[in-house]
């Protein structure tokens, strides 16, 4: 069930657009032309866009204006693409970034915090 807000008290009414299919973590989703990656995934009920490089905690959309980089995803093998400002294109292959293979040893205990 699409969670797209179609009728909004302030914004103009929703105009149907061309469907665009894209792949996120090897599953196919449909968004509308003009959607950003973040909004298209949000419509499909997906909020977790990446996992923290060290701790693995899920991260997702935060500022939605391209400033905080919390929504960075891997698009067509390109790292660090901001989902909140990148429009979706047909056949886009998007992967969420995950924990890095070589974790930083937590130096906090040894160093006098």
């Amino acid at each position: 069930m699409s969670q797209r807000i179609k009728y909004h008290p302030l914004l103009e009414d929703y105009k149907d657009g061309k469907n665009i299919t894209f792949i996120f973590n090897s599953e196919e989703y449909i968004g509308i032309e003009g959607d950003t990656i973040a909004s298209a995934l949000l419509v499909n009920g997906i909020r977790t866009l990446r996992y923290h490089e060290e701790t693995g905690t899920p991260h997702g959309l935060y500022c939605n204006i391209g400033q905080c980089f919390e929504c960075r995803v891997n698009v067509n093998h390109q790292q660090g693409v901001r989902a909140c400002i990148t429009p979706i294109e047909d056949g886009m292959v998007i992967k969420s970034q995950d924990v890095l293979p070589t974790p930083v040893k937590d130096w906090r205990e040894k160093h006098d915090k």
């Binding site: 923290h52 060290e54 701790t55 905690t57 991260h59 935060y62 500022c63 400033q67 905080c68 980089f69 919390e70 960075r72 093998h77 390109q78 790292q79 660090g80 160093h111 915090k113």
Partner: protein
């Protein structure tokens, strides 16, 4: 979730508790607080937490004027840049 465990620096996942503990214990400037806790060193370059990391140590500083005025530097690159953009073949 008590306000203590609120995350201040999202990129490095540094909580408010860690920041006030370090600032209180070491009476340090914002720069030293950043060096000790990594808050402000993350991917976003301090966009989210810069103001908070700068304001937290001020309440613990003995002489208000001197250390409290040192603000955090804006480290290049101002925005993350791919090596591909700097030349070299596009992988």
């Amino acid at each position: 979730m008590s306000d203590k465990s609120m995350i201040i620096c999202r990129c490095e996942e540094v909580t408010y508790e860690e920041l006030i503990e370090t600032a209180e214990k070491h009476k340090c400037s914002a720069r030293e607080l950043k060096l000790r806790t990594r808050a402000g060193m993350g991917y976003c370059g301090g966009r989210t937490c810069r103001n908070m990391v700068e304001s937290i140590p001020r309440q613990y500083l003995p002489n208000k004027e001197q250390l409290g005025l040192v603000t955090l530097k804006y480290q290049p690159p101002i925005r993350p840049v791919h090596f591909g953009d700097l030349g070299g073949d596009e992988t």
